[in-house]
């Protein structure tokens, strides 16, 4: 069996296990699993923005909020079907993302990062506050979007909904992975590594940056909408600035340059708080753990946990095959 086929089979086994194992779990645990999958989607949105074009954002949850509140307002306020509201919500998030990205025309990355904080605080402390635009934020009574059914099968059960969000995550990963390995990926990496050089070879840096912002915000908006339906109510507190900061930290711990950090982050969010409660520490300590890990890691392992682990495994397998007297290059190629 060739290396590519072997890794494909391995991937299929992992996906099947991830899809089937929660069948054995409680409803509550499956809810947490769905949350983790949604967080993976958000981490993926960070990977697109930070990993692909090198732009830090502190308003990913604001994009998520745009998706969530659009879906909430359309479903609960106007009686739309989920399947119509979802694309509108994602489109609204994409539009917001492009709008936020427009200052990229003239600002350096760090100043744009400052701007995203302003956007995040503007969203959760003005836009979503009762009285500003109740037709969007729901006002004093939060929206209660209900779970839809797909091809006649209701997604109201926790396992059905988990499978639904998992399928969406897999599709999103596939799309982003295709972008990364294709022409788009090369263009975006060129933009990240040197905007000047990219512009010199004729790339429209601004347009590509805006596209990355749009895609990232769209993914975040999708995640926000899925989270709204998963919880069954939409409130501003779930989408504030600190959530965005936590997300950025989580994605950076895993390593923003690789798509694999999205599932890794999901696993971390499911089992991280669990481990903490296992050693009789409250799960409210989890952000402290992420922050502490990030500090230690940036100083010692700046490339991120996933990338480092993969490099370590690669080095180990090269060492092992070299010891067996095989050509190390062959062992490297079959990965």
């Amino acid at each position: 069996m060739s290396g590519a086929a072997r890794s494909r089979v391995g991937l299929a086994v992992v996906v099947a296990a991830v899809a089937l194992l929660p069948a054995l779990e409680s409803d509550f645990q499956r809810g947490l699993d769905s949350d983790a999958v949604i967080i993976a989607l958000l981490v993926l949105s960070v990977v697109v923005l930070t990993g692909f074009v090198g732009q830090i954002s502190f308003c990913q949850y604001s994009f998520a909020a745009i998706g969530a509140f659009t879906v909430g307002a359309l479903m609960d306020g106007h009686g739309w079907s989920f399947w119509l509201a979802l694309p509108v919500g994602v489109a609204a998030a994409v539009l917001t993302g492009v709008l936020v990205g427009i200052p990229a025309l003239r600002l350096s990355g760090l100043l744009l990062a400052v701007l995203t904080i302003a956007v995040a605080l503007f969203t959760d402390r003005f836009l979503l506050v009762t009285g500003t635009w109740d037709g969007f934020s729901g006002g004093a009574v939060p929206w209660h979007p209900e779970r839809p059914s797909l091809l006649g099968a209701p997604l109201t059960g926790s396992y059905a909904y988990y499978l639904f969000v998992l399928a969406i995550l897999c599709a999103a990963i596939l799309v982003v992975w295709n972008l990364r390995t294709g022409k788009t990926g090369r263009v975006l990496r060129a933009v990240r590594d040197s905007e000047l050089a990219a512009a010199t070879v004729g790339l429209d840096v601004t347009a590509w940056k805006l596209a990355a912002f749009g895609l990232s915000a769209g993914l975040a908006g999708l995640a926000g909408a899925l989270l709204a339906v998963r919880i069954g109510s939409v409130s501003p507190g779930s989408y504030d600035f600190l959530h965005s900061v936590q997300l950025t930290a989580l994605a950076t711990v895993m390593g923003v340059s690789t798509i694999a950090s999205a599932p890794a982050a999901a696993v971390g969010t499911v089992f991280g708080p669990e481990l903490l409660s296992g050693i009789s520490v409250s799960s409210t300590w989890f952000p402290l753990l992420i922050g502490g890990t990030l500090i230690v890691q940036l100083v010692l392992v700046p490339e991120g946990a996933v990338v480092r682990t993969r490099n370590d495994i690669a080095r180990l397998s090269r060492l092992l095959s070299a010891r067996r007297g095989r050509d190390p290059a062959v062992a490297g190629a079959s990965r």
Binding site: R106, S108, L111, F122, P287, L288, G291, I295, L298
Partner: protein, 305 residues
């Protein structure tokens, strides 16, 4: 019933007293922003944890002065010490080892500190709920002659201390030996090292002084807003906005920008009762500043942001 527009016109009578509050708030922003600019200029790092440092130090003062009842001035001193210690810890433990790494990495490390300080403070003091302010001066005041505007002694003190410290920092940079060394490091760290300046020591000093100023700003602002761990941490965006007006380099202009921000945040409240107006004003001012002040390459010309 009055037409809403006419009713809102009555807000004009509130403007003089809102000017007093706006100036006070602006003074505090000036102090926080000056610390931020000092750190940025000398060490080249945009400190996203600036508000979190202010928040944590302020809660130390709160613990000492409000909870334990020790005189406020001692609480303030403890806050400054905490701020300086945190500033030193951030620089020594995490910024210094990252010398030569991309700006994004340094930004990420300050974000990690934000998260750690924010969560730790939430675990120690509770993330929401009412906290009694750390009152340095009694809140009684005097009436400005020929008007009916009342100025509290606390407001006057806050304004004078904050603006005094901000302008004092400008003086420090201009006329003291440490200030000259700081400017040398800001202009060119390698040349400064060649001239025998201990770059690490100067950088650490900037982090300690800047973070100490954040701590003072945090303590001073407690009577002005319903403070909790979150509202003080996001003080960083107000400091950033003021600092942007000063192009992240010019201290006197930063002070002016901060006072402008304080006024712009408060005036709309005289006419509208909508929540979140301060955030709206900050957002608008930040966008306008970024659009007007910054042109491509300007802020990054140092290349080490």
């Amino acid at each position: 019933m009055l037409h809403p527009v006419i009713a809102s016109l009555s807000g004009f009578s509130l403007l003089p007293s809102y000017t007093v509050i706006g100036l006070t708030l602006g003074g505090v922003y000036a102090l926080a922003a000056t610390g931020l600019v000092l750190i940025y200029r000398v060490s080249g790092v945009l400190n996203f944890a600036h508000g979190a440092v202010a928040m944590f130090s302020t809660f130390v003062a709160y613990q000492i002065s409000v909870v334990a009842g020790v005189p406020s001035i001692i609480g303030l001193a403890a806050a400054v010490a905490t701020g300086a210690a945190l500033g030193f810890a951030i620089e020594f433990l995490t910024i210094r080892p990252l010398t030569g790494r991309p700006p994004l990495t340094k930004v990420a490390v300050t974000i990690a500190w934000l998260l750690v300080l924010q969560t730790a403070a939430g675990l120690i003091w509770g993330s929401t709920g009412y906290h009694r302010p750390v009152q340095l001066v009694g809140s009684n005041g005097f009436t400005v002659p020929l008007t009916n505007v009342v100025v509290g002694y606390d407001q006057l003190t806050i304004f004078l201390v904050a603006v005094g410290l901000s302008l004092g920092t400008s003086a420090l940079l201009r006329w003291t030996s440490l200030g000259v060394q700081m400017r040398a490091v800001a202009d060119d760290p390698q040349a400064a090292r060649l001239w025998g300046i201990d770059v690490d020591r100067v950088s650490a000093a900037s982090w300690m002084i800047g973070s100490g100023m954040a701590a003072v700003a945090g303590v001073l602002i407690t009577p002005l807003l319903n403070f909790d761990t979150y509202s003080l941490t996001v003080l960083v965006i107000d400091a950033f906005t003021a600092a942007l007006i000063g192009r992240l380099t010019n201290l006197p202009l930063t002070v002016v920008g901060a006072i402008l921000l304080g006024l712009v945040q408060y005036y709309p409240k005289a006419f509208f009762s909508q929540a979140g107006l301060s955030e709206l004003s900050t957002f608008a001012l930040a966008i306008i500043t970024l659009a007007v002040v910054f042109r491509p390459g300007l802020a990054t010309s140092r290349g080490r942001a």
